[in-house]
Symmetry: C2
Amino acid sequence: MKDVRPIGIFDSGIGGLTVVREIRRRLPAENLVYFGDTARVPYGTKSPRVVYDFAFQDTRFLTGQGVKMVVVACHTVSSIALDSLREAFPLPVLGVVEPGVEAALAATRTGRIGVIGTRATVLSGAYERSFAARRPGVSVFTQACPLFVPLVEEGWLDGDVTGQVAELYLRPLIGKSVDTLVLGCTHYPLLKPVIQKIMGEGVVLIDSAEETARTVSDRLLADGIDGGPGPASEPRFFVSDIPQHFRKVGELCLGESMRQVVQVDLEAGGTG
Amino acid sequence: MKDVRPIGIFDSGIGGLTVVREIRRRLPAENLVYFGDTARVPYGTKSPRVVYDFAFQDTRFLTGQGVKMVVVACHTVSSIALDSLREAFPLPVLGVVEPGVEAALAATRTGRIGVIGTRATVLSGAYERSFAARRPGVSVFTQACPLFVPLVEEGWLDGDVTGQVAELYLRPLIGKSVDTLVLGCTHYPLLKPVIQKIMGEGVVLIDSAEETARTVSDRLLADGIDGGPGPASEPRFFVSDIPQHFRKVGELCLGESMRQVVQVDLEAGGTG
């Protein structure tokens, strides 16, 4: 049985392309449709109510493309709206928080785990809830890093400024002696070398993109909706805006070039 | 003749509150209505097409509030959509680019002028065109500073990181020996001390908010639509989102507290 319907993946912008990259690495035979809400990015500085509304619009766009599964490749949406999306849509909806939590629990020896993310993700308390539901004893320390996304978008992946910003944000977590750190935002894997250097080699960094790809793979098989072997078509990329700077950062996240990118207007209700 | 209709002011977010502050200082008797598109902020990283669409929605919201004048308190919109707004709406539409340009021309002795702004503002070429139309001989040097807005939003108005980021962005302008620097974004006046220190005391910083308030005042009198003497009511603030961090940065920009802030949903077409 081969289910050739695409997997739908969305994010507030282009950070979710790091998840696309990992899904393509692990599941090269799957057809993929991506939506990035680049006209309204970022979500991580906005209120739960607005994030919730945007998440529903994004998901409706993907289900309109006939997808078999929706991957919420955005930590902010995964933290705020995942349960509601699961209730509202009759197909598997996977987020990026749970895979990271499970990987962190497998990695930690001391039970002291750090989580970094956007302000909205941290304020939501989603990570604390998810850890507590799985292993009540662990100590979870969260830290919002609002400047990390703009730094990545500016292309400043290393250098003095990025190092200093990272040190300011990470110092409290070092003080808590965490042995595992969840990168709770799709942009952060691009800052891995800087973060690893500051946290020290002894701290395990959890890249949610990799873990999410693994979860997607497991779920496709469990539900019997995997695409089977054989070559997939090119991923289809939809965005709500294509600013001048777009391809540079997008290809940094994706790790390859985007052949075709189509601009759509969600507010007008369809492809434009 | 006393025209008590309010002045409408809008921005992509809350940076435009620096313009409200200056208008209130200069014109305490005018009624004001402000709209900040905080659900879709920022505009400065987005494409002209999207900025253009958002600007029309914002202006329609304000004209729906019965305003006598629209002040585009956003450099990105002023750079991209001002002429189109003026053609489309039958009331005075003032931007923040022209007042800054005129003040810079009055201030410069060497004719070497720097302009800093968002990527969208700089890419638009609006400042170069506006300077060339008024005084073809001046040399204009522009520099995008994409991290300045996130730094202000984070509340990091001074300190090592902000100083280093500012130095990286401003160094090319120092190399061009500008004697006047236009702060071409509503957030930037909050970084004035850092910018002045790096540029040196000899360089005149042009704060568009102050200049725009002066232009608003002149235009009200010229058109005979000023509010006359007497006390105005409290400004009315509308935004498309109220995230947790909102008041802190908003009150930083406004220089006073915001008594009442109403959330509206432009996409649903009205106050919500």
